[in-house]
Protein backbone atom coordinates (compact mmCIF):
# COMPACT_ATOMS: atom_id res chain seq x y z
CA UNK A 1 0.00 0.00 0.00
CA UNK A 2 1.41 3.34 -1.00
CA UNK A 3 0.51 6.25 1.19
CA UNK A 4 0.04 9.30 -0.89
CA UNK A 5 1.45 12.18 1.06
CA UNK A 6 0.69 15.60 -0.27
CA UNK A 7 2.32 18.23 1.88
CA UNK A 8 1.36 21.75 1.06
CA UNK A 9 3.30 24.90 1.89
CA UNK A 10 0.65 25.86 4.42
CA UNK A 11 1.21 22.63 6.32
CA UNK A 12 4.97 23.00 6.39
CA UNK A 13 4.55 26.58 7.64
CA UNK A 14 2.16 25.39 10.30
CA UNK A 15 4.40 22.63 11.66
CA UNK A 16 7.56 24.74 11.72
CA UNK A 17 5.85 27.74 13.29
CA UNK A 18 3.81 25.66 15.73
CA UNK A 19 6.95 24.01 17.12
CA UNK A 20 8.70 27.38 17.39
CA UNK A 21 5.68 29.00 19.05
CA UNK A 22 5.31 26.25 21.64
CA UNK A 23 9.06 26.30 22.39
CA UNK A 24 8.89 30.07 22.81
CA UNK A 25 5.87 29.80 25.09
CA UNK A 26 7.60 27.21 27.27
CA UNK A 27 10.65 29.47 27.39
CA UNK A 28 8.46 32.37 28.49
CA UNK A 29 7.24 30.36 31.46
CA UNK A 30 10.57 28.79 32.43
CA UNK A 31 13.30 31.40 31.88
CA UNK A 32 14.45 33.12 35.05
CA UNK A 33 15.44 36.47 33.61
CA UNK A 34 12.62 38.67 32.37
CA UNK A 35 14.65 39.76 29.32
CA UNK A 36 14.84 36.14 28.14
CA UNK A 37 11.10 35.81 28.75
CA UNK A 38 10.47 38.87 26.57
CA UNK A 39 12.67 37.51 23.78
CA UNK A 40 10.94 34.12 23.79
CA UNK A 41 7.61 35.94 23.66
CA UNK A 42 8.95 37.71 20.56
CA UNK A 43 9.65 34.29 19.04
CA UNK A 44 6.04 33.23 19.70
CA UNK A 45 4.66 36.41 18.19
CA UNK A 46 6.76 36.22 15.03
CA UNK A 47 5.82 32.58 14.46
CA UNK A 48 2.16 33.49 14.93
CA UNK A 49 2.61 36.30 12.41
CA UNK A 50 3.91 33.81 9.86
CA UNK A 51 0.94 31.54 10.55
CA UNK A 52 -1.40 34.51 9.96
CA UNK A 53 0.26 35.10 6.62
CA UNK A 54 -0.30 31.46 5.65
CA UNK A 55 -3.95 31.69 6.76
CA UNK A 56 -4.77 34.46 4.31
CA UNK A 57 -4.38 37.39 6.67
CA UNK A 58 -1.50 39.50 5.27
CA UNK A 59 -2.73 42.63 7.01
CA UNK A 60 -2.75 40.94 10.41
CA UNK A 61 0.69 39.54 9.62
CA UNK A 62 2.04 43.08 9.25
CA UNK A 63 0.11 44.42 12.25
CA UNK A 64 1.26 41.52 14.41
CA UNK A 65 4.89 42.28 13.66
CA UNK A 66 4.59 46.06 13.84
CA UNK A 67 2.26 46.39 16.84
CA UNK A 68 3.03 43.31 18.91
CA UNK A 69 6.67 42.56 18.23
CA UNK A 70 7.59 46.14 17.47
CA UNK A 71 5.66 48.30 19.87
CA UNK A 72 4.35 46.19 22.73
CA UNK A 73 7.46 44.07 23.23
CA UNK A 74 9.72 47.11 22.99
CA UNK A 75 7.59 48.72 25.71
CA UNK A 76 8.12 45.61 27.81
CA UNK A 77 11.87 45.79 27.21
CA UNK A 78 11.93 49.47 28.18
CA UNK A 79 10.23 48.68 31.47
CA UNK A 80 12.58 45.73 32.07
CA UNK A 81 15.50 48.11 31.58
CA UNK A 82 13.86 50.56 33.97
CA UNK A 83 13.29 48.09 36.79
CA UNK A 84 16.62 46.28 36.40
CA UNK A 85 17.74 43.79 33.78
CA UNK A 86 19.81 41.57 35.98
CA UNK A 87 17.09 40.75 38.51
CA UNK A 88 16.34 37.02 38.54
CA UNK A 89 13.11 35.46 39.62
CA UNK A 90 13.08 32.68 42.12
CA UNK A 91 10.96 29.94 40.64
CA UNK A 92 10.63 28.03 43.89
CA UNK A 93 7.31 27.41 45.54
CA UNK A 94 5.97 29.68 48.24
CA UNK A 95 2.74 27.79 48.86
CA UNK A 96 3.22 24.03 49.25
CA UNK A 97 1.74 22.01 46.41
CA UNK A 98 1.25 25.14 44.29
CA UNK A 99 3.10 23.72 41.27
CA UNK A 100 1.15 20.47 41.35
CA UNK A 101 -2.17 22.29 41.62
CA UNK A 102 -1.26 24.58 38.72
CA UNK A 103 -0.17 21.58 36.63
CA UNK A 104 -3.43 19.78 37.27
CA UNK A 105 -5.41 22.93 36.50
CA UNK A 106 -3.41 23.35 33.28
CA UNK A 107 -4.11 19.81 32.12
CA UNK A 108 -7.79 20.22 33.00
CA UNK A 109 -8.12 23.52 31.13
CA UNK A 110 -6.23 22.07 28.16
CA UNK A 111 -8.58 19.06 27.91
CA UNK A 112 -11.67 21.19 28.40
CA UNK A 113 -10.65 23.76 25.81
CA UNK A 114 -9.54 21.20 23.24
CA UNK A 115 -12.92 19.45 23.39
CA UNK A 116 -14.83 22.73 23.48
CA UNK A 117 -12.96 24.27 20.57
CA UNK A 118 -13.02 21.13 18.42
CA UNK A 119 -16.82 21.14 18.76
CA UNK A 120 -16.76 24.43 16.89
CA UNK A 121 -14.92 23.07 13.86
CA UNK A 122 -17.83 22.14 11.62
CA UNK A 123 -18.28 21.88 7.89
CA UNK A 124 -15.60 21.93 5.27
CA UNK A 125 -12.99 24.66 5.39
CA UNK A 126 -13.52 27.36 2.79
CA UNK A 127 -10.32 29.34 3.15
CA UNK A 128 -9.45 32.93 2.43
CA UNK A 129 -7.31 34.06 -0.43
CA UNK A 130 -4.93 36.49 1.17
CA UNK A 131 -4.03 38.11 -2.11
CA UNK A 132 -7.59 39.03 -3.06
CA UNK A 133 -8.57 42.39 -1.58
CA UNK A 134 -7.74 41.50 2.02
CA UNK A 135 -7.11 45.07 3.12
CA UNK A 136 -10.06 46.46 1.13
CA UNK A 137 -12.32 43.84 2.67
CA UNK A 138 -11.11 44.61 6.19
CA UNK A 139 -11.51 48.35 5.61
CA UNK A 140 -15.04 47.79 4.29
CA UNK A 141 -15.96 45.88 7.45
CA UNK A 142 -14.16 48.33 9.76
CA UNK A 143 -16.03 51.36 8.45
CA UNK A 144 -19.45 49.77 8.06
CA UNK A 145 -20.38 46.98 10.44
CA UNK A 146 -17.73 47.68 13.07
CA UNK A 147 -17.67 51.47 12.90
CA UNK A 148 -19.04 51.86 16.46
CA UNK A 149 -16.35 49.54 17.83
CA UNK A 150 -13.80 51.49 15.81
CA UNK A 151 -14.90 54.77 17.43
CA UNK A 152 -14.82 53.15 20.87
CA UNK A 153 -11.29 51.98 20.14
CA UNK A 154 -10.27 55.56 19.39
CA UNK A 155 -11.66 56.68 22.74
CA UNK A 156 -9.89 53.78 24.44
CA UNK A 157 -6.53 54.66 22.94
CA UNK A 158 -6.84 58.34 23.88
CA UNK A 159 -7.80 57.39 27.43
CA UNK A 160 -4.87 54.99 27.66
CA UNK A 161 -2.41 57.63 26.42
CA UNK A 162 -3.69 60.22 28.92
CA UNK A 163 -3.70 57.66 31.73
CA UNK A 164 -0.13 56.62 30.99
CA UNK A 165 1.01 60.24 31.13
CA UNK A 166 -0.86 60.84 34.40
CA UNK A 167 0.46 57.65 35.99
CA UNK A 168 4.04 58.02 34.83
CA UNK A 169 4.41 61.63 35.87
CA UNK A 170 6.00 61.84 39.31
CA UNK A 171 4.15 63.83 41.92
CA UNK A 172 5.60 67.28 42.68
CA UNK A 173 5.96 67.20 46.43
CA UNK A 174 6.98 70.84 46.95
CA UNK A 175 6.14 74.02 45.09
CA UNK A 176 8.88 75.03 42.68
CA UNK A 177 10.81 77.99 44.25
CA UNK A 178 10.47 81.32 42.47
CA UNK A 179 12.95 84.20 42.28
CA UNK A 180 11.82 85.71 45.60
CA UNK A 181 12.23 82.41 47.47
CA UNK A 182 15.65 81.73 45.97
CA UNK A 183 16.89 85.25 46.90
CA UNK A 184 15.60 84.77 50.46
CA UNK A 185 17.37 81.38 50.66
CA UNK A 186 20.66 82.95 49.53
CA UNK A 187 20.45 85.64 52.21
CA UNK A 188 19.54 83.00 54.77
CA UNK A 189 22.70 81.07 53.83
CA UNK A 190 24.73 84.30 54.10
CA UNK A 191 23.41 84.99 57.60
CA UNK A 192 23.87 81.41 58.84
CA UNK A 193 26.98 80.13 57.03
CA UNK A 194 28.54 83.30 55.66
CA UNK A 195 28.21 82.14 52.03
CA UNK A 196 28.70 84.98 49.58
CA UNK A 197 25.17 85.97 48.46
CA UNK A 198 26.15 87.56 45.16
CA UNK A 199 26.85 85.80 41.87
CA UNK A 200 29.98 83.67 41.70
CA UNK A 201 32.96 85.02 39.73
CA UNK A 202 33.28 83.85 36.17
CA UNK A 203 36.25 81.89 35.01
CA UNK A 204 38.72 84.01 33.08
CA UNK A 205 37.97 87.27 34.91
CA UNK A 206 41.11 89.47 35.41
CA UNK A 207 43.10 87.01 33.34
CA UNK A 208 44.57 86.97 29.89
CA UNK A 209 42.46 84.01 28.73
CA UNK A 210 38.75 83.48 28.79
CA UNK A 211 39.20 79.70 28.90
CA UNK A 212 37.08 77.95 31.52
CA UNK A 213 40.28 76.43 32.88
CA UNK A 214 41.56 79.87 33.87
CA UNK A 215 40.48 80.68 37.40
CA UNK A 216 39.21 84.13 38.29
CA UNK A 217 41.33 86.35 40.49
CA UNK A 218 39.75 88.07 43.44
CA UNK A 219 40.54 91.81 44.00
CA UNK A 220 43.19 90.88 46.58
CA UNK A 221 45.09 88.86 43.98
CA UNK A 222 44.17 85.35 45.10
CA UNK A 223 42.48 82.68 43.02
CA UNK A 224 38.72 82.30 43.43
CA UNK A 225 38.36 78.49 43.71
CA UNK A 226 34.63 78.53 42.99
CA UNK A 227 35.23 80.02 39.53
CA UNK A 228 36.57 76.76 38.05
CA UNK A 229 34.66 73.51 37.85
CA UNK A 230 35.87 70.88 40.34
CA UNK A 231 36.25 68.34 37.56
CA UNK A 232 38.57 70.62 35.61
CA UNK A 233 40.57 71.50 38.73
CA UNK A 234 41.22 67.82 39.42
CA UNK A 235 42.12 66.90 35.82
CA UNK A 236 43.86 69.88 34.23
CA UNK A 237 46.93 71.69 35.51
CA UNK A 238 45.52 75.14 36.16
CA UNK A 239 47.78 78.17 35.59
CA UNK A 240 49.50 79.32 38.78
CA UNK A 241 48.62 82.53 40.59
CA UNK A 242 51.99 84.12 39.71
CA UNK A 243 51.46 83.50 36.02
CA UNK A 244 48.00 85.02 36.19
CA UNK A 245 49.18 87.94 38.29
CA UNK A 246 52.00 88.67 35.85
CA UNK A 247 49.49 89.02 33.04
CA UNK A 248 47.32 91.15 35.29
CA UNK A 249 50.25 93.43 36.12
CA UNK A 250 51.14 93.80 32.43
CA UNK A 251 47.61 94.94 31.66
CA UNK A 252 47.61 97.37 34.59
CA UNK A 253 50.93 98.78 33.47
CA UNK A 254 49.60 99.27 29.95
CA UNK A 255 46.53 101.01 31.29
CA UNK A 256 48.70 103.39 33.33
CA UNK A 257 50.45 104.60 30.14
CA UNK A 258 53.03 101.95 29.41
CA UNK A 259 54.10 101.10 25.89
CA UNK A 260 51.90 98.42 24.38
CA UNK A 261 54.63 97.50 21.88
CA UNK A 262 56.95 96.52 24.72
CA UNK A 263 54.31 94.31 26.24
CA UNK A 264 53.96 92.45 22.99
CA UNK A 265 57.70 91.94 22.78
CA UNK A 266 57.61 90.77 26.37
CA UNK A 267 55.03 88.25 25.39
CA UNK A 268 57.15 87.10 22.51
CA UNK A 269 60.12 86.65 24.82
CA UNK A 270 58.00 84.64 27.24
CA UNK A 271 57.04 82.33 24.44
CA UNK A 272 60.58 81.78 23.29
CA UNK A 273 61.64 81.17 26.88
CA UNK A 274 58.99 78.51 27.18
Amino acid sequence: MILEIAITGVEITFWVCAVLAILGAIGLVTFKKSVHCALSLALVMISLAVIYASLGAPYLFAVQIIVYTGAILMLFLFVIMLVGVSAQDSLGEVVKGHRLAVGLAGVGVLALLVFAVLQGVTGTPIGIDGNANNIQGLAGLLFSRYVIAFEATAALLITAAVAAMVLAHPEQLKKKPGQTERAAARLEAFIRLGTHPGPKPNSGVFARHNSIATPALLPDGTVAPSSVSEVLASRVALPSVDELMAAHDDVLWALEGGDTYEIETDLGQEKTND
Binding site: V29, L48, L60, I72, V109, V121, I128
Partner: protein, 98 residues
Protein backbone atom coordinates in the same frame (compact mmCIF):
# COMPACT_ATOMS: atom_id res chain seq x y z
CA UNK B 1 -6.38 21.46 9.29
CA UNK B 2 -8.41 24.00 11.26
CA UNK B 3 -8.46 21.58 14.20
CA UNK B 4 -4.66 21.67 14.26
CA UNK B 5 -4.66 25.45 14.47
CA UNK B 6 -7.28 25.26 17.22
CA UNK B 7 -5.20 22.77 19.19
CA UNK B 8 -2.10 24.96 18.81
CA UNK B 9 -4.06 27.96 20.05
CA UNK B 10 -5.38 26.02 23.04
CA UNK B 11 -1.87 24.76 23.91
CA UNK B 12 -0.47 28.30 23.78
CA UNK B 13 -3.38 29.57 25.87
CA UNK B 14 -2.82 26.88 28.49
CA UNK B 15 0.91 27.58 28.68
CA UNK B 16 0.08 31.25 29.18
CA UNK B 17 -2.41 30.39 31.89
CA UNK B 18 0.05 28.13 33.71
CA UNK B 19 2.71 30.85 33.51
CA UNK B 20 0.24 33.37 34.84
CA UNK B 21 -0.37 31.19 37.87
CA UNK B 22 3.25 30.09 38.45
CA UNK B 23 5.32 33.23 37.88
CA UNK B 24 5.66 35.95 40.49
CA UNK B 25 7.30 38.77 38.53
CA UNK B 26 4.55 41.18 37.52
CA UNK B 27 6.22 41.79 34.14
CA UNK B 28 6.36 38.10 33.25
CA UNK B 29 2.75 37.65 34.39
CA UNK B 30 1.86 40.44 32.02
CA UNK B 31 3.71 38.73 29.16
CA UNK B 32 1.76 35.54 29.90
CA UNK B 33 -1.47 37.51 29.52
CA UNK B 34 -0.21 38.73 26.16
CA UNK B 35 0.49 35.12 25.18
CA UNK B 36 -3.11 34.20 26.02
CA UNK B 37 -4.42 37.11 23.95
CA UNK B 38 -2.25 35.94 21.05
CA UNK B 39 -3.63 32.43 21.33
CA UNK B 40 -7.16 33.80 21.13
CA UNK B 41 -6.14 35.82 18.09
CA UNK B 42 -4.81 32.72 16.39
CA UNK B 43 -8.15 31.01 16.94
CA UNK B 44 -9.98 34.01 15.49
CA UNK B 45 -7.83 34.00 12.36
CA UNK B 46 -8.04 30.21 11.96
CA UNK B 47 -11.83 30.21 12.13
CA UNK B 48 -11.97 33.24 9.85
CA UNK B 49 -10.10 31.19 7.28
CA UNK B 50 -12.24 28.10 8.00
CA UNK B 51 -15.50 29.91 7.32
CA UNK B 52 -14.12 32.11 4.58
CA UNK B 53 -15.28 35.42 6.11
CA UNK B 54 -13.18 38.33 7.28
CA UNK B 55 -14.98 39.06 10.57
CA UNK B 56 -12.57 36.89 12.53
CA UNK B 57 -9.61 38.90 11.27
CA UNK B 58 -11.46 42.05 12.29
CA UNK B 59 -11.93 40.66 15.81
CA UNK B 60 -8.22 39.83 16.03
CA UNK B 61 -7.43 43.38 14.96
CA UNK B 62 -9.58 44.80 17.78
CA UNK B 63 -7.95 42.42 20.27
CA UNK B 64 -4.56 43.82 19.24
CA UNK B 65 -5.70 47.41 19.76
CA UNK B 66 -7.14 46.63 23.19
CA UNK B 67 -3.97 44.73 24.10
CA UNK B 68 -1.87 47.77 23.17
CA UNK B 69 -3.96 50.04 25.40
CA UNK B 70 -3.88 47.48 28.20
CA UNK B 71 -0.10 47.14 28.03
CA UNK B 72 0.36 50.90 28.27
CA UNK B 73 -1.77 51.16 31.41
CA UNK B 74 -0.45 47.97 32.99
CA UNK B 75 3.19 48.83 32.46
CA UNK B 76 2.76 52.33 33.87
CA UNK B 77 1.11 50.81 36.94
CA UNK B 78 4.05 48.39 37.28
CA UNK B 79 6.50 51.30 36.99
CA UNK B 80 4.55 53.18 39.67
CA UNK B 81 4.60 50.19 42.00
CA UNK B 82 8.32 49.74 41.34
CA UNK B 83 8.98 53.39 42.15
CA UNK B 84 7.14 53.17 45.44
CA UNK B 85 8.13 49.66 46.58
CA UNK B 86 11.40 48.88 44.72
CA UNK B 87 10.14 45.45 43.57
CA UNK B 88 8.01 43.96 40.80
CA UNK B 89 7.35 40.67 42.55
CA UNK B 90 3.69 40.26 43.36
CA UNK B 91 4.47 37.95 46.27
CA UNK B 92 6.26 40.45 48.48
CA UNK B 93 3.91 41.40 51.28
CA UNK B 94 5.16 44.99 50.96
CA UNK B 95 3.28 45.23 47.64
CA UNK B 96 0.05 44.19 49.30
CA UNK B 97 0.14 46.89 51.97
CA UNK B 98 -1.93 49.95 51.18
Amino acid sequence: MTSLYAVLAVILFTIGLVGFMVRRNALVIFMCIELMLNAANLLFVAFSSHHGILDGQMAAFFVMVVAAAEVVIGLSIIVMIYRARRTTSVDEEIVMKG
